[in-house]
């Protein structure tokens, strides 16, 4: 089977293995995970932990809790199995893609020859240290591996692996299309900027393009550009978009400093990019989104819903598990960030921050929620003043 017209082909045995990984992750997150809090409360909790404390001031206590939990056999085993499930997922996904890579490469060449979109790579582009120093979320080769002519491997691996991961954490709303972020972002835009009719859109850090697609579909008159650090990412994202009939212009660029001119877009978005950078890079990416907007244009940065101000000190640590044990570089940076202040410092006005539920069929889009809701993404948005 294929999960979109240009996806890798999955055979029954591949699906069996990947379903096993998905079930395993679901069990680990939903059933076995909560035991860690009971363990903390029985062995490590301190009466002061429940007292309100700023996320920054709680840093030392988070570290104490991390070290305490790492000494507990249950946490060790749960974490080791969860990490092993991640490695197994990438291993199987990698094998699916490797078995189909020649065909995918041919499909890319054919799509490039006939497309109304485009794809541009830059072999001289430097990979920032926060991406080069580790393979983000343990995907071997990360976003930027580019190992053969017209390589699309990293994009195909990330497309399928990212979808399996989302199913594993219990977000099945997009199935293997894994497009809940794009759909959430579009729902937010329609509700909060009903008059917005962008003619030029930029998606920063598009990876496999799975969340660029809903944005393209929502604004069919717009010329959509999408950038990513990885050459194989943008090639695959281009192919994927072609297959869905949603052509766009993909280029290999760093979201911190792109080659587009000042004021050249009506809408600039990023979708779960910031938590894979650094606190300093987040500021630069938000500033770059401001530079690229025409006066009156809108930027939306959608992120993981991990906001420390809503968590007690144990959850501040535990919800950042992926930073410590899954090679995610900046979960804590997002957790403690004051996004309203960051956006206003960059020059944005009319700033919105809050949690946006993933859209459900026949349910009107609610306003952003000030506090976390199950099945939601975090959003910071603002306008470049006229």
């Amino acid at each position: 089977m294929q999960f979109h017209p240009e996806s890798p082909v999955l055979h029954d045995a591949d699906l069996s293995r990947l379903r096993f990984v998905t079930d395993l992750k679901r069990h680990l997150f939903a059933k076995a995970g909560p035991e860690n809090r009971r363990l903390y409360e029985a062995r490590l909790a301190h009466p002061d932990d429940k007292a309100p404390r700023s996320p920054q001031a709680a840093g030392a206590r988070r570290e104490e809790i991390r070290l305490g939990m790492e000494a507990e056999p249950y946490f060790q085993a749960w974490s080791a199995v969860l990490r092993a499930s991640q490695d197994l997922m990438w291993d199987y996904v990698g094998r699916v893609v490797d078995g189909d890579l020649d065909r995918l490469t041919d499909r890319f060449a054919a799509a490039k020859a006939r497309s109304s979109g485009s794809v541009t790579t830059d072999p001289t582009l430097a990979v920032p240290d926060y991406l080069a120093s580790r393979d983000t979320h343990r995907m071997p080769g990360s976003y930027h591996a580019d190992q053969r002519p017209d390589d699309v491997r990293a994009g195909a691996v990330y497309d399928l692996g990212g979808a399996i991961y989302q199913l594993g954490i219990g977000n099945a709303t997009g199935a293997l299309l894994n497009d809940s972020r794009g759909r959430t972002l579009v729902a937010f835009l329609h509700r909060n900027y009903p008059a917005l009719a962008p003619l030029r859109i930029l998606d920063m850090g598009c990876s496999a393009g799975h969340n660029t697609a809903p944005v393209c579909a929502a604004f069919p008159k717009a010329e959509v550009h999408a950038i990513d650090i990885g050459a194989a990412m943008v090639r695959y994202a281009f192919l994927r978009a072609e297959g869905l009939g949603l052509p766009a212009h993909f280029s290999q660029q760093n979201a911190e400093h792109t080659n587009f001119e000042d004021g050249s877009f009506d809408l600039v978005v990023s979708q779960i990019v910031l938590h894979e950078t650094t606190p300093e890079a987040m500021q630069r990416i938000i500033a770059e989104s401001f530079r690229l907007l025409r006066p009156g244009g809108v930027a939306v940065h959608l992120e993981v819903p991990i906001r420390y101000e809503h968590f007690d000190v144990f959850d501040q640590f535990f919800r950042s598990w992926e930073q410590y044990y899954n090679d995610e570089p900046n979960i804590e940076g997002v957790g403690v960030a004051d996004f309203r202040q960051l956006a206003e410092q960059a020059g944005f006005t009319g700033v919105h921050t809050g949690f946006q539920p993933i859209p459900a069929k026949d349910v009107p889009t609610p306003a952003l929620s000030a506090s976390p809701l199950p099945g939601s993404w975090y959003i910071v948005a603002g306008t470049r003043p006229a």
């Binding site: 029954d12 393979d135 190992q147």
Partner: protein, 99 residues
């Protein structure tokens, strides 16, 4: 497949425990795949009445079929052993060995 570049810590006191977990998970996934494939086979041949009684028990693979099975089994053993091969030089390795 590219090699993994990781900065994460050793989780269990003995790195062999981490490897054992990885092996068990790979076995679980493979067992799931085999069980489901076998289930598919049985249903198809039963529905299509292709199988005489005792056919499965009496079956002996041809040399070519046996060679294919051998290759598949070798590949599976390589998967099962991958956590050991990947762990050489991993953080915690020297410390655990010194205990």
């Amino acid at each position: 497949m590219p090699a993994l570049n990781s900065q994460t810590v050793q989780l269990c006191g003995d790195p062999n425990i981490d490897r054992l977990f990885a092996m068990v998970l790979a076995l679980g996934a493979e067992l799931t795949a085999v069980s489901e494939e076998l289930d598919t086979l049985k249903r198809v041949i039963t529905e299509q009445k292709l199988l005489a009684p005792d056919s499965l028990k009496r079956y002996r693979p041809s040399p070519d079929a046996q060679a294919e099975r051998d290759a598949a089994r070798s590949a599976f053993v390589a998967t099962l052993m991958a956590p050991f091969e990947q762990a050489i030089g991993a953080p915690g390795e020297a410390r655990a060995g010194a205990r």
